[in-house]
Symmetry: C2
Subunit: 224 residues, 2 copies
């Protein structure tokens, strides 16, 4: 990449570190931006080890696969162009070193940059607003490369809206206060979490609310 903004360089390095990648290479970065980024607090090991190259050709010289990344539509480049999620298994399955190539913040990949790529991937942003922030684009691409879906139990019936649960939590809390049990705010948090774990339907929530109201009335009458 050919970054110009130290904040962007820092954000890119952070994503590289977050997702467990190691190697960041910069092509002809603005001297001032690079020095500023390297000296930023928390810049960390990735930036310290980042290598700078004068040209894209040199930066990717030892890579067997170079994948250009874009959030805009680059179909006119007449290169193999895939959605990021479709290309990820291919990228992961390629032996040897693979380079992901990002363009500059302002202009993206140039035709010259693209000529060093074997293929292009596009982050599936919407056509009307395709262009992503550089640090965000890097984060999304690296996330896609490390993601590993497991299994997840299928969903789900309709849930009571949050305001209904909160009314219920209030009622419940009033009950516990009356019963001299409640310690705010811990108890309130416990109740809210419990109600959400229960995955109440609107109808069930209404039924429980009725019970709570009844208990409150009873407690009130006992106490009075």
């Amino acid at each position: 990449m050919t970054p110009r903004n130290p904040l962007n360089i820092g954000a890119v390095a952070r994503a590289v570190s977050n997702f467990g990648f190691e190697s960041l290479r910069l092509v002809d970065p603005y001297r001032v931006a690079m020095d500023e980024a390297r000296s930023a607090p928390g810049a960390g090991a990735i930036l310290a080890a980042a290598r700078e190259f004068a040209t894209v050709a040199e930066a990717v010289a030892d890579c067997g696969l170079v994948v250009g990344t874009a959030s805009m539509d680059l179909r006119e480049s007449r290169m193999p162009l895939d959605r990021l999620e479709d290309a990820a298994p291919f990228i992961r399955g390629t032996p040897g070193d693979v380079a992901l190539l990002f363009g500059s913040e302002k202009y993206g990949l140039s035709n010259d940059d693209i000529s060093f790529c074997h293929r292009l991937v596009r982050i599936p942003t919407r056509p009307e607003h395709g262009s992503m922030n550089l640090g965000q684009a890097v984060a999304v691409c690296l996330y896609e490369l490390i993601r590993e879906p497991g299994s997840f139990p299928p969903a789900i019936r309709r849930q009571a809206p949050a305001e209904q649960l909160d009314r219920l939590a209030d009622g419940w809390h009033a009950v516990l206060t009356q019963a001299e049990y409640a310690q705010m705010p811990t108890t309130m948090h416990k109740i809210r979490r419990l109600l959400r774990r229960l995955q109440l339907s609107p109808k069930d929530a209404q039924a429980v609310q009725g019970m709570v109201r009844q208990v409150l009335w009873k407690l009130g009458s006992k106490l009075s």
Copy 2:
């Protein structure tokens, strides 16, 4: 979310727009940061329509499912906690409005925030450096929600490294120049792209290089 930095608010809004979502709600944002973000050039429709709320409870009142997002490990919260990629089908399959709740840049989700969540998702960052930049975390979560893997042909044999392809491109270009065909830089780009589309193995690349060398020699001898 309770954002404090106008650049972060802008980055979040950009990701919301990039991935085709519409509704951004902010909880008690810093007045100055919000005003600055709204007036930034290109802030766009998402920020203009962003609604502000005093509390998390009000912000999520009409939502049937509230998913807290974290890049740190929150297992101690004793809430259902899933990797983002595992939770995505569940989130997409939930009828009605779903809220993704992000914490502040500095502290993430508080215990009070978490008590309004039905479940938590964790972006699978590496444990040694889990904490993500807010704008990047939002981009990754929204990307996961809209991603749609299609089919992709399986890979692949070993590829010639880029420097070998570039030597080959240089040779090829020299041939075309000798043949009075080449127009720089268009032709050079065409050659580089063609060589990458071919997915040459190192051995094949070497073989073609030999041919090119031979042609060059022949052209030279004809021209001389």
